[in-house]
Symmetry: C2
Subunit: 242 residues, 2 copies
DNA sequence: ACCTGAACACCGTTCAAGT
DNA sequence: ACCTGAACACCGTTCAAGT
């Protein structure tokens, strides 16, 4: 009569009905971790455990932690819907709102988008949509690229900011922290900081939806204006090629 | 005759001519670490070693690692010069360029600015300057706050992106990586991604100065336009108070 | 009041070794 | 081709204990 049971014949991941280790399964496990515990919980050890496998195994399927996050980001990009047809301004607005919605729908997912540009298989699709709209706005290819960077950088950095406000422990904590910031700003000398004190409320009370719209409107307003100007004076470009 | 020398009477940091442990000295040590090795080298253990002291000592002077980074960020804000008088657009441009210059002057310092808003002693000064300019642009206090967020988020997220391009190992590596991205983009089907392929060069070749100016111009153009509109139709506000 | 030693609970990554 | 055990070189943070 053996003291210990023999090691199970079946690998653990089959006993736990887990999918076989594959590229996609790893990304899916990472996504689950993200949804359940947030970006910081997406660790190599974490996804390995989710899949019933040891950590170094992950390195067989994915080069790096950064590579994993890159794929996870692209996985999120796949959730953004194509903007239904309409004027380019409306389509950009739909895209911006759609991307933001995906981020807030996955906890602090925006964290892993900062510093990245959507160039993965699904990300490229979004990039194409954005560039298409910008082309319609009358930008040349270089300006389109700049505009796309500006667009993504706005949406992600806004979403990032809104998901990490003071410290997202609980809704109450957050409100308290913001209240404290307002109090702090109001104690400042009106002489030294006249505009800060005047805007104290707005600075500390996010009003996030309005703020997101403000930046987006600004962006679209600038584009519309510069496209108008270009139509007015069309032959003013720095004609580098032809 | 003792085997070991007795422990030195003087604490190590005096032997090494190091300044006494203080709030400011800690921040200065962190700054040195940042300049020499980058943000990732700014660790609690690292600054402790710089000061010739053990790690837990740091916690006596600073609440957290995040608190330390917050102070370091504010220390960087102190390097931004007041914009010389002039029209508000010019002052905002000077501030944007000044902030970007500080970031690139301290390696990947922009990393620690993402997700933060300049509310420390020196940061507040910059915020005040920005708000002042936005007030001159005709924004109301709430819009000023939104505009300031937009401004800082643009400058920092741009600087962030430019400091982390593919992976900052060496200038050569970076160029190679960018070249690879361009190659990749050019392999895409022109049918499926017509605009991506058309902008491939600009997407993969940063042209950073021009891109920074593009976003800034966009921002200022939007502000100028909306301030013009407001002057045209002044009594259209959502009159919440008075 | 300020500093140290020792420990806890984590990380990403590598590498020889197994099947 | 794919997976494991064990280890390396780190992290942030806490806490009793020293002076």
């Amino acid at each position: 009569m053996p003291r210990k049971l023999p090691a199970p014949i079946w690998p653990r991941r089959i006993l736990r009905h887990l999918p076989p280790v594959s590229d996609e399964a790893i990304v899916e496990a990472a996504l689950g971790l993200l949804d359940r515990e947030g970006v910081d919980a997406v660790t190599m050890r974490g996804v390995a455990e989710c899949m019933g496998v040891t950590t170094p195994t992950i390195y067989w399927h994915v080069e790096n932690k950064d590579g994993l996050l890159e794929r996870l980001y692209d996985r999120l990009c796949s959730e953004v819907a194509r903007p239904s047809s309409g004027p380019w301004q409306d389509r950009l607005r739909l895209l911006a709102n759609g991307i933001r919605a995906v981020f807030v729908g996955h906890r602090d997912a925006a964290k892993l988008a900062v510093g990245r540009f959507p160039l993965g298989p699904h990300g490229l699709q979004i990039t194409e949509w954005v560039l298409e709209a910008l082309a319609e706005a009358g930008l040349d290819p270089e300006e389109m690229a700049h505009g796309a960077y500006l667009f993504f950088s706005y949406v992600t950095s806004f979403s990032h900011q809104e998901t990490i406000l003071p410290t997202p422990v609980s809704t109450n904590d957050r409100r308290d922290a913001l209240k404290k910031i307002e109090q702090y700003l109001l104690t400042l000398s009106e002489k030294q900081f006249p505009h800060v004190t005047r805007s104290a409320k707005a600075l500390s009370q996010p009003g996030l939806d309005r703020r997101f719209a403000f930046g987006l409107d600004q962006f679209l307003l600038g584009l519309t204006e510069s496209s108008k100007r270009q139509r007015r004076e069309p032959a003013k470009k720095k004609s580098k090629r032809s």
